[in-house]
Structure formats: structure tokens, C-alpha cells
């Protein structure tokens, strides 16, 4: 029987090498795979390029990974928010690179990578400084810019329910970028709140089919970034 379950979080992230490109699911705190990120901090891979909508909050999760000096470049749409201090500091010190991508373009570039589409055209950024250096082209009298796919070596994903084949469901708006990142990464690593047997997820309700998932670890009581921050926690 196909079984993608791992029993240990450290084992699931053990082979992420220095220099890897890593997608991290989540939009702000919702859907952020904190346990997998903390395991990556313990594991210590450096010089990572990380793709996420944001740059983390407080001193836990993605912000802690950045704060630990493991990330050399962020690809994101919104690198600052009310509780993000780590990235802004490193960025102003010139110690971390930023590729700013509008949110919809970020989502579509990730999907394109998963769908085998090397490039597409979008109206987003036309007429702005973010279109500088991009190839533009007219279709039906309107100008669009060309955007390339965005792939990753690994994706770290949080889901609600998983079966051993890797079929996943999510909870509410914690879904956000995660189904797309599962498609776009060579190796997709998932932490699930609940594990069920194959067949227990209705085939009509599967959000991420198992073909896009490589490894799953069960984390029954995941911590939530907002809770950790409210408690004043930091990691490690």
C-alpha cells in the first residue's frame, strides 16, 4: 500500500539542503506550517530562497527562520505587516534580498509551475514601476506583461485532513496558497491536523489530490502563530 506518512517531523525535512528554494504555505498566520518551519530551523539549512505571501510575524515561524539567518532571499507580495520586525530589520541592513511580486501574480506563477506553463501574460503591474524590465505585449488592444512560472525544490504545507495517499483538505481561509504550492514543488511536505484512512475523504471534497504530495506528518495540535505571539514566544 502506498503510504506517504512520516512518523517524525525532523525526518520529513531532513534532506532540505543549503541553497534550496522552499515554498511555505499560509497567508499571514492562517495556514502557516509552524511545526515544519521550526523543524527546518532545528535542521539548520542555510542560504534558502523562501516563497510566501509575507515574511512572518513576531519571532516564531517564518520570521524566526529569517531571524536565524537561514534565508538569503524572500519572494513575496507583502513583506511588512503590523507584527513583522525581523525581515524589515535584515532588509534595511542589506542582509536579505527581496523579490516583490503582486499577490495574484505570485499565485498564478506558482500555479503555472505546477501546470507546466513556463510563462503567461497578465495586466497586473502594467504602467507601474513593477513592470520595469518585464516584457510587455498587446492583446486585443490592451497591454499585458509576461510573467514566468515559479518553481520550488520543497514546499512546507499545513492542512486539516490527510490520507496516506496524500489527498488533502484545508480549513477555511487557511487554504490560500497551499494547494498551488503542492503542485509547484518537487517535494511537498505536509503537516496534517488529522490523519484518516484512504477513502475517508469523499473524492468530491479532495482539495489537493495525492499526486501533488510526497510526505505527510501528523501534528494533531498545531500551534498557531497568533497564539505564540500573544504569549510572547520566540523560537528556538
Amino acid at each position: 500500500m502506498i503510504n506517504k506518512m512520516y512518523s517524525s517531523i525532523p525526518d520529513a525535512v531532513a534532506d532540505i539542503p543549503d541553497g534550496a528554494t522552499v515554498m511555505v504555505g499560509g497567508f499571514g498566520a492562517s495556514g502557516s506550517p509552524i511545526e515544519l518551519i521550526h523543524a527546518l530551523i532545528d535542521q539548520g539549512a542555510r542560504n534558502l530562497t523562501v516563497i510566501n505571501n509575507n515574511t512572518g510575524n513576531g519571532d516564531v515561524g517564518l520570521a524566526a527562520l529569517i531571524g536565524n539567518g537561514q534565508v538569503s532571499k524572500m519572494i513575496c507580495s507583502f513583506p511588512r505587516s503590523s507584527q513583522s520586525r525581523v525581515f524589515p530589520r535584515l532588509y534595511k541592513e542589506g542582509r536579505i534580498e527581496l523579490e516583490l511580486v503582486p499577490q495574484g501574480t505570485l499565485a498564478e506563477r506558482i500555479r503555472a509551475a505546477g501546470a507546466g506553463i513556463p510563462a503567461f501574460y497578465t495586466p497586473t503591474t502594467v504602467g507601474t514601476v513593477l513592470a520595469e524590465g518585464k516584457e510587455s505585449r498587446e492583446f486585443e488592444g490592451r497591454t499585458y506583461v509576461m510573467e514566468p512560472w515559479l518553481k520550488a525544490d520543497f514546499a512546507l504545507i499545513k492542512c486539516e485532513v490527510a490520507d496516506p495517499l496524500g489527498n488533502l483538505t484545508y480549513n477555511k481561509t487557511a487554504r490560500n496558497f497551499s494547494p498551488l504550492m503542492c503542485m509547484a514543488a518537487t517535494t511537498t511536505i505536509v503537516q496534517t491536523k488529522k490523519r484518516v484512512a484512504a477513502g475517508e475523504i469523499d473524492p468530491e471534497h479532495v482539495i489537493t489530490p495525492g499526486i501533488f504530495v510526497n510526505r505527510i506528518v501528523e501534528v494533531p495540535d498545531p500551534v498557531h502563530e497568533d497564539t505564540l505571539i500573544a504569549e510572547g514566544r520566540s523560537y528556538p
Binding site: G28, S77, F87, I110, T124, V126, G127
Partner: protein
């Protein structure tokens, strides 16, 4: 100091111009107040970029679900008939022209419809764009709610934006504390003045030529 409209009145005035049954995306700040002033007999369906249609009001603290946020990362609820989806589907709704109205705050808006609301362009600022550029290019009608001038009295309705653009020529209507202003082929055009506000006052506080109410 003129009387003019309060923040709530600006939101209520904007809500009046949104047709029944519209799919609406609201920016952060005053635009969020629109939900409180939906005219009698109308229903709007709220879209939030992070992956939901049918967004409802904030929950009581005890009822909040840590996995149910809006694009501003505030906790929200779902109304009956809501749907969740991933980010590519969410921005397909935006980019594909399926959202009817987007109401945004702004730093500047120009008489040719240009909007600048994402960056001051200051050299030490950390650029952060989020979904703003997708929204202004994709949504059918871009409305702006803004104070007519900055806190220091500078016009926010200008001839040309000095801040970096979010998108060119996209804004159709502006709701300020002083007036409702359309962006037309002839530039700014006042369509309605707030109670007690004169056209002369609006004109003096606008950084571009502006036409009086017809």
C-alpha cells in the same frame, strides 16, 4: 473648516452607488465601513483576496476561528452561501473581471484615473504591494474613498500622482469628505457636494482642474 461628510457618511455615500447583488472587494480603512451602510433592500457579496466569497462581520472573540481571516489578516465570519477557494481561483475572480466593485483607500488619485496607494517611493521604505495592483487592473469598477486632502492639507486629488502608481487610468469615482467626484475624459467632475460644502472649496483643495456639478 467645512462641515462635509464623516468617515461613516463617506462609506454610506459610496454604498449608495453599489448595485444590488454586486460582488464587492473592500480595501483596508474607511472602505471597510461600507458593510455597515448597505442600502435597504440590497445585498452585496464580499470577496476577500485570501480565498473567500461571502465574508461576514467580525466574530465575537469567543467565536473566532484562527483559520478564518480576511486579506487584512483580521478575524472574520462566513455568511450562509459562502465559499472557500485557493489563491489562484481568488485572483482569477479579480483578474478575470468577475468582481463588480472594489472600494479602495488611497494616497493620491489623478484626474486621468491613475491611483497611487501602495508606496511612497521613499528610498528606505520596504516595498509591499499585496493584491492592490491585481485589484485595480481586474475589478470592473474601482471606487476610491479618501479624505480630500492629507492631514497637512495637501491635495490627494492631483493632476499627476507623484507617488509610484498602483495602476494607470483605473479609478472611475471618488468619495471624499467634501464631494463625490467622477474621473471623466475631461478630468475630475464633481457629481455631488457634501452638505455645507461649496464647489469653490472643493476646487481650492483639489490639485487639478475640476468641473462643477452639472
Amino acid at each position: 473648516m467645512s462641515t462635509g461628510w464623516s468617515r461613516e457618511e463617506m462609506a454610506a455615500r459610496a454604498a449608495l452607488d453599489i448595485p444590488d447583488g454586486s460582488y464587492v472587494n473592500l480595501g483596508i480603512g474607511i472602505p471597510e465601513l461600507v458593510t455597515r451602510f448597505v442600502p435597504e433592500g440590497r445585498e452585496f457579496i464580499y470577496h476577500t483576496e485570501n480565498g473567500m466569497l461571502g465574508m461576514g462581520p467580525p466574530p465575537a472573540d469567543a467565536d473566532r476561528d484562527l483559520d478564518l481571516m480576511n486579506a487584512g489578516k483580521k478575524y472574520v465570519t462566513a455568511v450562509p452561501g459562502a465559499a472557500y477557494f485557493h489563491h489562484a481561483d481568488s485572483f482569477s475572480m479579480i483578474r478575470g473581471g468577475h468582481i463588480d466593485v472594489c472600494v479602495l483607500g488611497t494616497m493620491q488619485v489623478a484626474s486621468n484615473g491613475d491611483i497611487a496607494n501602495w508606496s511612497t517611493g521613499a528610498p528606505d521604505a520596504i516595498p509591499a504591494v499585496g493584491g492592490a495592483m491585481d485589484l485595480v487592473q481586474g475589478v470592473k469598477h474601482i471606487y476610491v474613498i479618501t479624505q480630500h486632502t492629507t492631514r497637512t492639507g495637501e491635495p490627494k486629488l492631483v493632476e499627476r500622482c507623484s507617488y509610484p502608481l498602483t495602476g494607470p487610468g483605473v479609478v472611475s469615482r471618488i468619495f471624499t469628505d467634501l464631494a463625490v467626484v467622477d474621473v471623466t475624459d475631461n478630468g475630475f467632475q464633481v457629481v455631488e457636494l457634501a452638505p455645507g460644502v461649496t464647489f469653490a472649496e472643493v476646487e481650492s483643495k483639489t490639485g487639478a482642474p475640476i468641473l462643477p456639478p452639472a
